[in-house]
Assembly symmetry: C2
Homo-oligomer: 330 residues x 2
């Protein structure tokens, strides 16, 4: 294993230290491992807290800032954050309008966020929760009861973030979060495994001519191993899986996401195929992202996430956002 | 070789097709392979044209837009653009104030941009040229007489782009371009080779425990192969090389750049070390970028680029920019 790290033990703290140096708009509690906006709380605004295992950067810490999250709680690599982190973050971002927890559907995350929400409630912090479960690849998985949460997490964070800035109430922010999740689907394909620093070797082995279809963001198994194929064919496999679950039509928001080790060039090649597929189905990619947003360490491959837009969601997507990894419009 | 492409022959066109779908603010001539801003020329504004081999995405096409380039001319992978592309782009972006060519110092690029500039001049388009040669690793290289141009190209494009928006004359825009180059240095380290699609195999072989110090962005050799080491040690090797050439002090702009296959997490770990190194030298990273900006296909590794700031350069760096890969402040 060759990685740009100092040690497997310190990699999360070292990452956060680098983020603190690079992004003066963030306030980072290195001891507790919590990433905040610089000035908090915002009185009358619903606080948005997300979190999950590290190794998916820029998710979630890279999405903290105006128009998106108020705080992110990174766990160790591929490991849930602990309830104490989530409780501390929730207290600190609560401006009196309550807090929404945005939780990817993995057993550990669900359990720890639930425990934190209960303790927050006892201490008088109102908490709502949205579970993100957009990945159509598998019904249950190694880490999940039900579908996994992947790329739609970014959509939920962006769109609820925009709504929360308007002063909307917790119930309304939670409603839109649920709506974005319900209208979103994802599917991923890996060309290679990832290597967890503490493990020191690839999580799984793929042959020279094989790809893993329906891969999870921790390297957990997907639907099948199939022969490597062209970008066109692989994009079609992913989009067929999405379209079988949620027929595509109208205006859609699409993300072609790199898994961490995939060059941008290849992601654009995939995006061209995804856009062509959508046209074939009578849908249009009116909003899009192409890049590394919800990654799996050094894995090579891509995932595609679509969300069926309506006027409200489009307007909220377009609203200003100022975070390390997503910024526009101000 | 596993890559998300349709064929080695079509990879550049397919990439540009994806960019055209994803970025409606760009106008992309797929036949000539030129990426433009949507509306051109801007009367009275110096036109900025850059270009070079593909495989370094988002450089250069991802930097076309308000506050940065007017047009980019991508060549085939790791191959210079042809004079016809550059001439066509220069004509189209000329709003009567002339055109600046921003050229990375590689033999093919220098030759083709020079030929294009001469033909433009004959046709009445005034052209200035800045050669970027920031990489301190080697004096001459496989592709270069003199130093290679790498990360500072982004700095030159951003800062001259901001100045050109103010209506500054060609001589002034060329002067600032030269100043940015003169005040900038880079150094890169590879953990792995890249694989050129048409070659189908890695450009070079690195042992399990080896890194290539002073790597070029086409996988051309650097200074030495040394045993793999911690992020702290590798950051120090890179920064020492930079500091030996240009003593670091005062406010600096720093980019920790991924080579294409490196996770963001690792780049932040390196950035923390770079920031600490700067403090040790009495310098401060007052502006920074961390991410994949000047890549080498799927190579794993990083480069660091620093620019000694002054008030003028800081102001121009902070000016609004709206491109696919760099956007802030509007």
């Amino acid at each position: 294993m060759k990685k740009l790290i100092n040690s497997a033990e310190s990699v999360v703290t070292d990452t956060l230290a680098g983020m603190a140096e690079a992004h003066p708009d963030l306030r980072i509690d290195l001891a507790q491992k919590i990433v905040y906006r610089r000035s908090l709380p915002t009185p009358g605004k619903v606080g948005l807290v997300s979190g999950g295992g590290s190794g998916h950067e820029p998710l979630h810490a890279g999405f903290v800032g105006h128009g998106m999250l108020d705080a992110a709680c990174p766990g160790e690599v591929f490991t849930s954050p602990v309830p104490d982190q989530i409780i501390e973050a929730s207290h600190r971002v609560d401006g009196g309008a309550g807090v929404l927890h945005i939780v990817k559907n993995y057993t550990g995350d669900v359990m720890n966020f639930q425990m934190a929400a209960e303790l927050c409630a006892e201490e008088g912090v109102e908490v709502g929760t949205v579970l993100v479960n957009d990945d159509v690849a598998v019904k249950d998985s190694l880490y999940t009861a039900g579908r996994r949460g992947t790329g739609a997490t970014l959509f939920v964070e962006k769109i609820t973030g925009a709504l929360a800035e308007t002063g909307a109430a917790l119930g309304e922010v939670a409603r839109i979060a649920g709506q974005v999740n319900a209208r979103s689907r994802s599917f991923g394909i890996a060309l290679s495994s990832c290597t967890v620093p503490a493990a020191g070797k690839p999580t799984f082995e793929l042959g020279d001519g094989e790809v893993e279809v329906g891969i999870g963001i921790h390297g957990e198994p997907g639907r099948a191993r199939v022969p490597a194929a062209s970008a066109r064919e692989l994009a079609r496999v992913a989009m067929d899986a999405v379209n079988d679950d949620l027929p595509l039509s109208g205006d859609v928001l699409v993300m072609v996401n790199g898994m961490g080790g995939t060059p941008l060039m290849e992601l654009y090649v995939v995006f061209a195929e995804v856009a062509a597929y959508l046209r074939e189905k009578g849908a249009t990619a009116t909003r899009s992202l192409v890049g590394n947003y919800v990654t799996s360490l050094d894995m090579q491959g891509f995932s595609v996430t679509v969300c069926l837009l309506n006027d409200e969601l489009t307007r909220l997507w377009d609203a200003p956002v100022q975070t390390p990894a997503l910024r526009w419009g101000r």
